[in-house]
């Protein structure tokens, strides 16, 4: 275990985050807001502290192992959430640090769960920062830093730990180049959305903030009613782009190198689209009576399904008042999530497919104990290690959700609110049902519950293993 590297890398990440904080500072200067000072204090303070600290733990060697990669990612995320929360508290706009931490974790993990009761009264610089954390957290902060510097000699361990999905591969031989390509695709798609939203009637600031929210599949809005007040065109644009950012980015690379055949053969993509189409149709028919026309019902249904499935969490209508069937569909979609290798959270469609195939195999095996079956996925034999890992992940996932549910039940709230709040946070969605539903927010929870939910969001975003490894004593023992 390379202890120095484990301390050194998070400090490097912290420094990069401090520099990125100058962007919202620039926005504050443009709008002549006093919160610019809170950014400058945080950024300067972090730089002043991290540079000598990094010198102190300068590693002898840049070699790291799988274990180190997990720990580095976990520590980096906690550290940068702690730093990202400071501007909110220093500027006094979110006085409680626990609240600010919740809000920032929610931002970086692209959850979009908010404790703000009056979003409209926040200064623009802080709103920009809030949404910018979505953008950074979506593709991964460390991947971003990796794209511009040479972090480690063995970057694959860090990539595996930060990028979601059961199988993480590189697009090109070099990790740095891979990170660059991913961010390039990411930025181009985001800019396209900004342009379309601008056409759809939003101001440049609104378009940028909402595009960041969509790109990271986060869901922070700048109005209490989220997207409901914008034009139908803007709503459709966001619906489509939420789906776009929920697709595995490897497919965009395949399209970029004109390998359309392989891209279109992706099983995960078709299942993902199928689930979206089916759910939208079901919900549309179910809520048809609540809206004046079929078109409006379809728009709201598609928006909500897309938003929940891609774990974004924008809303155009209070789906908490929808019939039970639609609510159940949305709850189930919360678990499934979008594709692996995208910016979205949840279990991921590919894991659901792998689990389904494993169940099929095991059932067959009970009928024919000597049968030999190979699970194939995306045209390739799936390694047993991946199948085991997926099954273990699924079990851990449920243990974590249940543990969170238990800890939250201390709150004087109903069962539905508590359970769905944990599910919505763990899967990085944001709005849940009941007390934490689309029409209200997480301000009702106690500070303790907010910390539990923050932990749930981090566990969900980093897919459990990094945090468990970082906090298990055996990792740190010298043996």
């Amino acid at each position: 275990m390379n202890r120095r590297m484990i301390l050194y890398m998070p400090l490097q990440i912290l420094r990069a985050t401090a520099l990125l904080m100058l962007l919202p500072a620039a926005v504050s200067i443009y709008y002549r807001e006093p919160c610019v000072w809170s950014f400058l204090i945080c950024s300067g303070g972090a730089l002043l502290l991290s540079i000598p600290a990094a010198k102190l733990v300068k590693p002898y060697t840049k070699e790291i192992y799988a274990k180190d990669g997990f720990v580095i990612v976990a520590l980096s995320w906690i550290l940068l959430s702690a730093l990202g929360a400071l501007p909110f508290t220093i500027s006094g706009e979110i006085p409680s640090y626990v609240d600010a931490f919740f809000e920032t974790v929610s931002g970086f993990t692209t959850t979009g769960a908010s404790i703000l009761t009056h979003v409209e009264s926040m200064s623009r610089g802080l709103l920009f920062w809030r949404s910018f954390t979505h953008f950074l957290g979506g593709m991964g902060v460390i991947v971003f830093v990796m794209a511009i510097t040479n972090l480690s000699d063995r970057p694959i361990h860090i990539m595996r730990a930060e990028m979601p999905g059961p199988i993480v591969g590189k697009l090109v031989p070099k990790a740095k180049q891979t990170a660059k390509i991913l961010y390039l695709i990411y930025i181009v798609l985001t800019l396209t959305e900004i342009a379309l939203l601008k056409i759809g009637g939003m101001s440049l600031f609104e378009a940028t903030v909402h595009a960041f929210g969509t790109a990271g599949t986060g869901g922070f809005g700048i109005r209490s009613d989220s997207i409901a007040g914008y034009t139908p065109f803007a709503q459709w644009v966001i619906t489509v782009f939420m789906m776009v950012f929920g697709v595995n980015f490897n497919l965009y690379y395949l399209i970029l190198i004109r390998n359309f055949k392989t891209a279109l053969k992706s099983r995960e993509l078709w299942v993902y689209c199928g689930i979206f189409g089916g759910s939208t149709l079901l919900v549309t028919l179910n809520v048809l009576r609540m809206f004046p026309s079929f078109g409006t019902a379809l728009r709201h249904a598609a928006f909500q399904v897309s938003s929940i499935m891609t774990t974004t969490g924008f809303v155009t209508t209070d789906y908490d008042r929808w019939p039970q069937l639609s609510k159940t569909v949305l709850l189930l979609l919360m678990f499934i999530g979008a594709c692996a290798g995208s910016t979205a959270g949840g279990l991921k469609v590919s894991r659901v497919i792998i689990l389904g195939k494993t169940i099929h195999r095991e059932v067959t095996r009970m009928l024919h104990p000597r049968s030999v079956r190979v699970i194939r996925f995306e045209g390739k034999k799936l390694e047993e290690a991946v199948i085991h890992n997926t099954a273990v992940y699924f079990v851990l996932y449920f243990i974590c959700v249940m543990a969170g549910f238990f800890l939250l039940s201390i709150e004087p709230l109903d069962l539905e609110s508590c359970f769905t709040a944990v599910v919505a946070c763990f899967n990085n969605i944001g709005p849940a049902f009941g007390a934490a539903g689309p029409a209200s927010n997480y301000a009702v929870f106690s500070p303790f519950s907010k910390l539990v939910l923050s932990a749930a969001m981090l566990l969900g975003r980093l897919e459990i293993f990094p945090l468990i490894l970082a906090f298990s004593p055996t990792t740190w023992m010298k043996k």
Partner: protein, 452 residues
């Protein structure tokens, strides 16, 4: 450069590590997933697993965009097929490992031409060559040749009773006259390019560069000259032994080969009637003594098992056999072998890696010079590179003492019209010369790299 390496065996992974260190984009292919995963975990490369001659797998590895494919799987035919397909799919340079003797005869040029191979590598043959060179000059630990043997670099290990112990290099030059240059000193894990005030110690390995006829003169002065080995015992009747014995037999050396495997023994005895082939377990001391290990001039351990090679080499060393050469395949064991007092440890992987690296380096350097030869010294911590100077070399004609060289760089030799010289300050580099540069801690791909 974008390079695809098929086969992640010993040579494949050694190559991958070296090429990644030099900054190339490397993709590896192997049919064993665990080998691929292991490499992907320790190097910044992309891995695919599958048959390296399967066009689908090659396509997946984006072979059409690659500049070079190196096929180093365990099967010759697979390597050839893989290179053939890659060539058809648009790769410019293909290198195949071809080790089977059936292909390594007069047919090789035909095979290379038909498959469009840029290079065919036979690790056993190359290793046999290395061993052969070592035997010609038994006092050297290692010999590298430059520019068609116009210059040689010889590594000498200073024993505890060495007359050079405690001597500064300038004193050494005064005491032992000759046209030579000490260009590297390996001490422990460090490599130095020594200046005149550098003090030598026993235990150091010094690299001396000189014309081939100068080296015996120096060795005689140092009283290190040993007579050329006449009686040689080789353990293991593999392919290296075959190539080596063939070369040695042509010189009239007495070769005795010991191997356990009767079939291998019979095969060798049939191919090389002049060799004495003995079927028996080389690990039995009794057998070795019986076969006269005491009176041998050289003992060479070439079995397939590293541990056996190391142990028996140590055993042979105890009989004051003048030259003991030990083959070690696994990288990690080389250091252990050296720490046991074996100074002549050879590794087929390193030999092949050097050759391929040289080829790749030569492809990358285009501007002012061309790479002819490249040797990595001391686990790649230092290297000796031979360049051909092209007419557009900017520092041509300037006396060396006026050149502002980068640190840790030494111009160790110049070959002009087949005449070699150890350069002094007044000498100049001219277009058409071959220049040998020794450097530590940096990679040089171009002669212009050495100038500030």
């Amino acid at each position: 450069m974008k390079i695809i390496i098929a086969g992640c065996g010993k040579i494949g992974s050694a190559l991958t590590r070296s090429l990644v260190r030099e900054g190339h984009d490397v993709t590896v292919i192997d049919k064993k997933k665990s080998s691929v995963d292991e490499l992907v975990n320790i190097c910044d490369v992309r891995g695919f697993y599958g048959n390296a001659a399967d066009p689908d797998v090659l396509q997946e590895a984006e072979v059409s965009k690659a500049d070079m494919l190196i096929a180093a799987t365990s099967t010759d035919e697979l390597n050839m097929l893989s290179c053939f397909f890659a060539k058809k799919m648009g790769v410019q340079h293909t290198v195949a490992r071809i080790r089977n003797a059936d292909y390594n005869d007069d047919n090789l040029p035909f095979i290379k031409q038909q498959l469009g191979l840029s290079m065919a590598i036979n690790p056993e043959y190359q290793t046999a060559n290395t061993v052969f060179n070592l035997l010609k000059l038994p006092s050297a630990v290692k010999i590298e040749t430059f520019s068609n043997r116009n210059l040689e670099m010889v590594d000498l290990r200073l024993k505890s009773d060495s007359s050079l112990h405690g001597l500064q290099l300038s004193e050494m030059r005064d005491r032992y006259k000759g046209n030579y240059l000490v260009c590297t000193v390996i001490r422990g894990e460090n490599v130095f390019i020594p200046g005149g005030d550098f003090t030598l110690q026993s235990g150091d390995t010094i690299g001396v560069i000189a014309a081939p006829n100068e080296i015996p003169k120096l060795l005689k002065q140092l009283k290190l000259m040993k007579k050329q080995a006449r009686n040689i015992m080789i353990l293991g009747a593999g392919r290296i032994t075959y190539y080596l014995s063939k070369k040695l037999a042509s010189l009239g050396t007495n070769v005795k080969v010991i191997d356990k495997d009767l079939e291998k023994c019979e095969q060798l005895a049939e191919q090389l009637p002049s060799c004495a082939v003995i079927c028996g377990d080389g690990a039995e001391q009794e057998l070795l003594l019986q076969e006269g290990i005491r009176s041998m001039d050289a003992f060479i351990a070439l079995t397939g098992i590293d541990e056996e090679n190391i142990l028996l080499s140590v055993f042979a060393g105890a009989f004051h056999t003048s030259k003991v050469i030990c083959k070690v395949n696994r990288e990690g064991l080389t250091e252990i072998a050296e720490s046991l007092g074996l100074d002549c440890v050879i590794s087929p992987e390193k030999t092949v890696t050097d050759i391929i690296l040289r080829y790749v380096r030569a492809l990358t350097s285009t501007v002012g010079s061309r790479i002819e030869t490249l040797y990595q010294l001391a686990d790649g911590k230092a290297e000796a590179v031979e360049f051909v100077v092209t007419p557009d070399f900017p520092a041509a004609g300037i006396p060396l003492k006026d050149l502002r060289l980068k640190t840790n760089i030494l111009i160790a030799g110049i070959v002009r019209n087949r005449k070699s010289m150890i350069p002094a300050g007044k000498d100049v580099i001219l277009p058409g010369d071959k220049v040998i540069v020794v450097s530590t801690g940096r990679t040089i791909t171009d002669l212009t790299d050495i100038i500030k």
